[in-house]
């Protein structure tokens, strides 16, 4: 069994990998959902758009489910405190996601235009709302979240849903929505042709620009106006987790401490910006597959930027800073982390293998002719 400190670090990385995997895989079908009412002008075009992700959205959504399960298993205190604290935000995500399975599967089973348009907007909500809220949630992590623990580690959240929607958090929500929509647009460029592809390319131009601008603006705002958190007491990585055993202070510029200490981490924000431009250039020159992976790297860069700034914090408490949740003191036992590491190492490669196979089998451009020929079996 690995030592406890290494396991804690590995699990910080693995949760990051799951988040990034979720953003890349479920992200592209959410982006497609957001763009659906705009890049598909008539019913056939919309069916083309939907069928680019038709066989895959369900598998992709499991990144979200498994991410939830993994946070439960590896960071139970985070799972408990964040999801109960962000209660209405979490419910909004769940309810938005409700539209997806039924939207995809039921939409084309009835030909009534009102029915189909209703589900198109359902798929829009299911695609646009979750990334917006996840971005807003990250924005709030940087500002600290008003929660505290009692002696028995019962958490109480003292904020409101509306307080989450502050300007900085909304800017972060814009970063994440633009990122996911951009990613979906690039995917559509890869899987469609003609008019739809052209509209997707234009969307990629717009959302890529918006993503870079808002990402840089959020960085500047964080630098100028948002104090970070620092653990003041000595950190013992091998200690049994107890979030109340440390002292924490707020300090201006602290969110940039890791970048100062390890300048190599600056590659992450650079990757976030460069990935967008590379994806746009590649998509324009017709190398859409490479563009998809460039866009995926941009996602790695953006999420990595946030993670590296926050480390070792996961969820700082603005109400009682010492109760802040960190990678050292909100984790599971050594045994559970170890078992979960093995489960991930065994199954993740298998998952990637059969997901890749599924995309290969269903690969190629989705066309209006395909939708017409398969009108009883396609979405």
């Amino acid at each position: 069994m690995l030592d406890y400190e290494s396991l804690k670090l590995i699990w910080w990385l693995l949760v990051g990998v799951l988040l990034v995997g979720f953003a890349i895989m479920d992200g592209h079908d959410m982006g497609v959902g957001t763009l659906l009412p705009f890049v598909g002008k008539d019913d056939t075009e919309r069916r083309v758009v939907i069928n680019t992700v038709g066989p895959h959205w369900d598998g992709n959504q499991v990144w979200f489910i498994t991410g939830g399960g993994a946070i439960f298993a590896a960071w139970p205190l985070v799972y408990a405190t964040a999801f109960s604290g962000f209660y209405w935000a979490m419910l909004a995500v769940l309810w938005a996601l409700f539209f997806r399975p039924v939207g995809f599967d039921y939409r084309s089973k009835i030909s009534n235009p009102t029915w189909r348009k209703t589900w198109d907007w359902g798929l829009f909500i299911g695609g646009a709302v979750p990334p917006l809220i996840f971005g807003v949630a990250f924005g709030n992590l940087f500002q600290g979240v008003p929660f505290s623990f009692d002696d028995h580690l019962v958490s109480t959240y003292s904020g409101s849903f509306w307080a989450l929607l502050n300007p900085f958090a909304l800017l972060c929500g814009m970063v994440s929505t633009a990122m996911i929509t951009f990613h979906g647009a690039i995917y559509l460029v890869h899987r469609t042709q003609g008019e739809i592809q052209w509209r997707a390319l234009r969307a990629a131009g717009f959302f890529g620009g918006l993503m870079v601008l808002s990402f840089v603006a959020a960085g500047v705002w964080l630098w100028m106006g948002i104090p970070g958190y620092v653990i003041q007491s000595a950190v013992d990585g091998a200690a049994l987790p107890n979030p109340l055993a440390k002292t924490v202070v707020r300090e201006a510029g602290a969110w940039f401490a890791n970048y100062r200490a390890y300048p190599a981490t600056l590659l992450l924000p650079a990757l976030g910006v460069a990935g967008v431009f590379a994806a746009q250039a590649l998509a324009r020159s017709g190398r859409s597959m490479a563009a998809f992976w460039a866009s995926a790297l941009a996602i790695v860069g953006v999420i990595g930027t946030a993670g590296a700034a926050l480390f070792p914090f996961i969820m700082p408490s603005s109400l009682d800073p010492r109760a802040s949740l960190t990678v050292w003191d909100s984790v599971s036992s050594q045994l559970t982390l170890n078992i979960m590491l093995w489960a991930t190492l065994i199954f993740m490669p298998i998952i990637i293998l059969y997901t890749g196979w599924a995309y290969r089998v269903m690969g190629g451009k989705v066309t209006a002719a395909y939708v017409r020929e398969n009108s009883h079996s396609a979405y």
Partner: protein, 517 residues
């Protein structure tokens, strides 16, 4: 102290969302194997009829699956949103099977289902069959891991409490996986799913036969459903949940409550066929007993005793008294972890910590304890008898009714004359809701029967909730029920529409009610 209203609303919301979810899950679990059978016959014989069967029943399967996914998302996150203290207290053990379910099972199932629907023209016959089999394996593995998690709530093995981290921690992963309670639950639950899938196909096929349309298609479907359903219903009954009932104390308590067994009877105990339980006086006002039967099904032996409710309560009273010491020592340890005296005291009473926590429903500090409060907590340790007694009997009665139906269906399917037996076809049609009712009632028995605990003997339900406002709970409960109900209506509409249209909806040109492009 947590308000009772908050606890009740949190329970209600969990019950509602879980019961909605389980309207869809058993059909998925069962139908997926029927699809495997149908497609296997197709691959072996090459007859297009079997491909059409796989695709048509697959279409209905898909309509159901969509809502299974929708309602399932909630359950993965609701422990965090509404049961925060539970999630912290047992996440170290309970989270692992949920995460492994995602990695090992749900990814597989969800990726393959895409290929099942869209891959017909892009995969060879054998490849497509492999996809269907993997989808079925994924579905069933998914049930396995979820029931390992649920089984641990009933019989929490392989874990220990740590006063430093203030939670339960895993000590033996394999004990959690091979928990006999979880294994018994898995077999019982997936078999119930198989019965549901079989009943669905049997009923709808019977309807086509009664109307004398798509006869060949319906006859083959009926035959497969009859055989698969008969085997499954035997499995549900013989390998019932009961095989796990002697394992843990949770199950003993549940057994006593659902049998309205107040006294410990000499082995082998009689079975109360019908009784009128009297909660206040702890006796049955009226009972029809069948000698020996309870002892036989409960213990699978002639000489092991099954404890009655009075004996269970007496045992629990001792544990609560000892639990008071455990909680008091724990509080001291939380103030100062180096308090040696408190640590010794805690170790001595640690096993009863959960029982001490039961008192927190009534008092936040133990200096306010009175004998009356302890008595209330003792009475809480056994769930109310009447709901348990009757819902269990309803489930069992439905099980035997389905055994009879599938027995007759199989008999006449072997003789080959079922298509001319309108009474049988009509019985099969009207029996359609039975497996769903049995499944829902079964879950009620399992979960209500574990009260007042979320984790038996470890964590009381009233301590498990998130500290949310009652208003939030009203809002979210209304949201869930409203949203789910709308979706359920939409689902039923589509299900009925396509079931009525029948295999003609595939647009192959071979059936009645052909779809137009």
């Amino acid at each position: 102290m947590v308000s009772e209203q908050l606890v009740d609303l949190s329970r209600l919301q969990f019950a509602a969302t879980a019961l909605y979810h389980f309207l869809f899950v058993p059909l998925t679990i069962g139908m997926v194997w029927m699809l495997v059978i149908m497609e296997s016959v197709y691959v072996m014989t090459g007859k297009p009829l079997y491909k059409d069967m796989t695709r048509f029943w697959g279409k209905l399967f898909g309509i159901n699956f969509a809502l299974g996914v929708t309602t399932g998302i909630t359950l993965e996150f609701q422990f965090g949103t509404n049961w925060a203290y539970y999630s912290h207290y047992v996440g170290d053990i309970f989270g692992a099977p949920l995460a492994i379910e995602g990695l090992m099972a749900f990814f597989l199932e969800s990726t393959m289902i895409g290929l099942f629907f869209f891959g017909w023209d892009r995969l060879s016959r054998r490849q497509h069959l492999l996809v269907t089999v993997l989808m079925a394996v994924g579905t069933n593995l998914s049930a396995l891991w979820i029931l390992i998690a649920n089984g641990w709530m009933q019989n929490p093995v392989g874990a220990e409490f740590s006063y430093v981290t203030m939670r339960m921690e895993m000590t033996d992963f394999w004990a959690v996986v091979f928990n006999p309670d979880a294994q018994a639950k898995f077999v019982h639950t997936v078999s119930a799913g198989y019965v549901t899938g079989a009943m669905f196909v049997l009923s709808i096929s019977s309807w086509y036969l009664l109307r004398r349309r798509d006869v060949e298609f319906a006859k083959r479907s009926f035959g497969i459903a009859a055989a698969f359903g008969f085997a499954s219903v035997c499995s549900v009954i013989v390998l019932g949940d009961e095989s796990g009932y002697t394992v843990g104390e949770a199950q003993q308590t549940k057994l006593a409550a659902m049998e309205a067994m107040w006294e410990t009877e000499p082995a082998p105990a009689p079975f109360n066929l019908i009784a009128i339980p009297n909660e206040a006086e702890m006796k049955n006002d009226f009972a029809i007993e069948i000698p020996w039967v309870m002892g036989l099904i409960g213990t699978r032996s002639l000489d092991k005793q099954i404890p009655g409710i009075k004996e269970i309560k007496a045992r629990n009273r001792e544990r609560i008294v000892s639990g008071i010491e455990a909680v008091t020592a724990l509080d001291a340890l939380r103030r100062d972890q180096n308090d040696e005296a408190a640590r010794r005291e805690f170790e001595a009473h640690k096993a009863d910590l959960g029982f001490g926590l039961l008192l927190k429903k009534y008092v936040s500090h133990f200096d306010q304890l009175t004998p009356g409060i302890i008595e209330k907590a003792v009475n809480d340790t056994v769930p109310r008898v009447a709901p348990m007694f009757w819902s269990f009997r309803l489930m069992v009665a439905l099980g035997f009714a389905m055994l009879l139906l599938f027995g007759l269906a199989l008999w006449h399917s072997v003789k080959g004359d079922f298509a001319d037996k309108p009474w049988l076809l009509r019985a099969a049609l009207y029996s359609l809701p039975m497996p769903w009712i049995a499944c829902e009632v079964g879950w009620f028995v399992a979960e209500y029967g574990r009260q007042p605990w979320t984790i038996y003997g470890v964590l009381p339900t009233h301590l498990s909730v998130s500290t949310l406002s009652v208003e939030s709970l009203y809002g979210s409960l209304a949201g869930f029920v409203g949203f789910y109900t709308v979706l359920l209506v939409v689902e039923m509409y589509l299900m009925i529409k396509f079931a009525k249209q029948g295999p003609g909806s595939l647009g192959t040109g071979r059936y009645a009610n052909e779809a137009h492009a």
